[in-house]
């Protein structure tokens, strides 16, 4: 039987506010354990939470970026459970009146744009961290009380790749908003996935598994790929699925059941009486909305409109906020008429250099003026495109200007026809067979002859001129 995969993601984002969500502690993760704490975030008896307006602002920004409806009345609730990293043994979260609902996120997957529903975005506090040693477990409360944003998607994702693309898009937007570091390895972005399979065409959802413990986007994808196969095999074998939480074991590449009584969990949510219901004024929402930065989608449209870029090219450039910034500056400075020339250089050689070095475009430290001059050499046919790429690599490695590298390496193309004619004569003499084939109408032979000339000139011959010269010589004679 064919199955449809149904995935919903729950993302937790640590907001990088100055202070914690409900107390005045500065947030600084570099600190030694339990140095960034106060009686309030330690949940000491008698202390009370007061919510952080900056965190609320950031949360509204994110909700608006996902086109969510901001709820006028919202409140905080207590989620009750015992765990040593949770100082009060309840977490301040939001239950039935979340900050915002009903948003969406457009993802670009498999060359198609797909709209994924966002169920809700709400604010809560983070817990501390357990540190396990051979004979003891310890708690570090530095993280306790850091504002967390929970972003829950609808089960609209239908493949592990779509889940991956959703996370990439989400991270991209958050990066533009500059409200979180979004670093999964450092835990500032965490993701749990709900996945189930159902027979193709079926309306009912299958029994789901909740996957935890992934610490990279790739990990999320790998865990989902594993889970699709595992669930399909179970269904094929006619075995009943159990609703359960499974942990991703990246080392062994498999998900493992947590074997706890998931159904018995009862968080006894109720409104936190220490924090009154509050109203989010429409004027505040409008103000935040008007201050939102240009988001990736809008930037992409603008790049297409203003610089004549294709959707594909524009999308690549905006997929990183910093790359987009650098690229836009380059394109603006580029004096040529066709802005696409610069865009092609950025998306092509520049991005591949950046990717191979695992850095962002601006971190290549390529001087923009210098890049423009390098492109100029190619455009006026002073050097070949191929040599230009080599020059770029050297520019990055040696931090020397393009022109100097070209001169030092004697890379200027030979466009002097007299000089070229000499080489061409030699090649024609030595390759009679190809000459005959060309005359017989085989155009491939021309390519071969040009190649030979290039080889003899150590790559410096201008291939376009060489081709024309050979053609003229062989057809004239």
């Amino acid at each position: 039987m064919r199955y449809q995969t149904v995935i919903g993601l729950e993302v937790h984002l640590q907001l990088k506010t100055k202070t914690k969500a409900f107390c005045g502690c500065a947030i600084d993760f570099g600190k030694t354990p339990n140095s960034g704490v106060c009686p309030v975030c330690l949940g000491f008896p008698g202390t009370l939470p007061v919510y952080n307006k900056e965190a609320l602002n950031s949360a509204i920004k994110v909700a608006l970026a996902f086109s969510c409806q901001i709820q006028e009345h919202t409140k905080f609730d207590r989620k009750n459970y015992f765990y040593p990293d949770l100082p009060k043994n309840y977490q301040i979260s939001q239950f039935d009146l979340p900050l915002s609902r009903h948003g969406y996120l457009d993802i670009f997957s498999d060359n198609k744009t797909k709209r994924i529903g966002i169920t809700r975005v709400h604010l809560e506090e983070d817990a501390g961290k357990l540190i396990h040693e051979s004979n003891a477990s310890m708690v570090d409360f530095n993280r306790a009380g850091v504002p967390l944003l929970e972003i829950v998607s609808e089960p609209d994702l239908n493949s592990p790749q779509e889940a991956f693309d959703y996370l990439t898009s989400l991270k991209n937007i958050i990066e533009y908003l500059d409200v979180s570091d979004c670093d999964m390895e450092k835990g500032s972005l965490r993701c749990d996935a709900n996945i189930s399979l159902r027979p193709e065409g079926s309306k009912e959802l299958g029994v789901k598994a909740e996957l935890k413990n992934m610490n990279s986007f790739k990990g999320v994808k790998d865990a989902l790929v594993f889970e699709v196969d595992r669930q399909a095999a179970l269904l094929e074998a006619g075995q009943a699925m159990v609703q359960e939480t499974r942990l991703w074991d990246a080392e062994n590449g498999e998900t493992v059941s947590m074997r706890n009584k998931e159904g018995a969990k009862d968080y006894r949510y109720f409104p936190d009486p220490d924090l009154t219901v509050f109203i989010i004024e429409q004027t505040m929402v409008s103000r935040i909305k008007s201050q939102l930065p240009e988001l990736p989608h809008d930037k992409m449209r603008r790049f297409m409109r203003d610089y004549g870029l294709s959707e594909y090219d524009a999308k690549i450039l905006v997929s990183s906020k910093k790359n987009a910034q650098f690229a836009e500056e380059c394109i603006r400075k580029y004096p040529g008429k066709d802005k696409k020339n610069m865009a092609n250089w950025l998306i092509g050689p520049m991005l591949s250099e950046a990717n191979s070095r695992k850095v962002e475009l601006h971190e290549l430290n390529v001087n923009m003026e210098d890049l423009i001059s390098l492109i100029g050499f190619v455009e006026n046919q002073s050097i070949s495109h191929l040599s230009a790429k080599l020059v770029l690599t050297q520019m990055i490695d040696s931090q020397k200007p393009a022109e100097l590298i070209i001169r030092e390496n004697n890379m200027l193309q030979i466009s002097d026809t007299a000089e070229l004619e000499q080489v061409i004569s030699g090649v024609i003499r030595e390759n009679e067979k190809s000459v005959t084939s060309f005359r017989a109408g085989k155009t491939n032979a021309l390519m071969f002859l040009v190649g030979q000339v290039m080889k003899k000139s150590a790559g410096k011959a201008n291939p376009k001129i060489v081709g024309e010269l050979i053609k003229r010589r062989l057809t004239d004679a």
């Binding site: 000491f44 008896p45 009370l48 949510y269 109720f270």
Partner: protein, 472 residues
Amino acid sequence: MELNQLTAHELLDKLRSKQVASGQILDSLYARIEAVEPKVKAYARFKPGNTQANGLAGLLPVTVKDNICTEGLNTECCSKILCGFRPPYDATVISKLKKSGNAIFPLKANMDEFAFGSSTENSSFGPTHNPWNLECVPGGSSGGSAAAVASDEAIWALGSDTGGSIRQPASFCGVVGLKPTYGRVSRFGLIAFASSLDQIGPITKDVEDAAILARIISGYDPNDSTSVNQDLPDYTDSLGKDIKGVKIGIPKEYFIEGLDPEVKLVIEEAIKKLESLGAVSKQVSLPHTQYAVPVYYIVATAEASSNLARFDGVQYGYRAKSDSLIQMYKKTRAEGFGEEAKRRIILGTFALSHGYYDAYYLRALKVRTLIKNDFDAVFKDFDCIITPTSPTPAFKIGEKTADPLQMYLSDIYTISVNLAGIPAISIPCGFSKSGLPIGLQIMAKPFNEGMLFRLAHAFEQSTQWHKVKPRL
């Protein structure tokens, strides 16, 4: 009269005119404590001969209930689970007292564990005895504070009131007790029982002292989101004013079966007294009164079950030795909490449980709104409401411990006030034949404490009840 027998405002006058020094006041208090504390047991952690009158900053010492955080001073809520807990911070009320030049008395007042009770019998340090009759309870949960003030072991004191825990012991001990409007006094540093009901308030020898102390501890606090930013009048301005034309509502639902005839008689006399001073009274109805106790025991226990979750042996207080985390949790809480605390945690946990939340907690919240609406309706036409503080005078120690429901009913007249968030005061208004004090409760509109002081002071000035002292 000894210095410790005087009211705070009398002592303040003497201090200002340099007739006495604060050290003398402390000496007289300690002498009294050494003499009668073994009988009354108003203080937690008291050891005979251990009282020393030195190193106190400030003028008048204030006795503080054991659930209000005092920096560096044990604050244990009279519970084993918090044994040895010394907060590294002061409650906002304590900071305010210190700022206004008052001293924090180093001994903390006994109470029912976590303020769970109406008799101060549920304390890990044993019960407090009523100074008027040592075989009786002082009321609760602020029984230590009330007994200390009544026995002149304290000049004045702070208690906390979640369902009557200031007013009922004030009534049982023949002193003045005020529960301010919810949001009037910061709860920061008050170890929470039920966050939506708790308020700190004064327990004093007379109305003037209550007005002074209430003013000092009140006011908006940015550290408590539920505190309210409202004008704070000088309550002493309300003292000495006549009460001509003040409209008093007498709710018929409070004068029913279960009300001790002796108490009824004394309250009716008191109302007559107020009328003779120019007030007018009329019967009114608070139709949802009968639901107050059940609503309270759902809301209060639900909040308590969550508030008390933090006492788990991980960070502070008592920790039972155990091999595993879960066993440590279980043993710590089983050994650290008393019977009543466990009962309320279980009740509250049940009320919030999946499948019961709507039927209990949510429903209770709705009825709570109805109870509040009852008061709003009466206060449209009346300035205040008068009732007995408690249906009976103080009962015997041990009399109700076997029957929690009977114990819960002793708060039947005080609970609605907390549910509605309004202010109320209890003042002495007479005695039973057996010589036990009886309290009169006055309720007013939110943030209208001034009306309470005006009426209470007018009554007090025309009676002598507050001047009678127990013989110990």
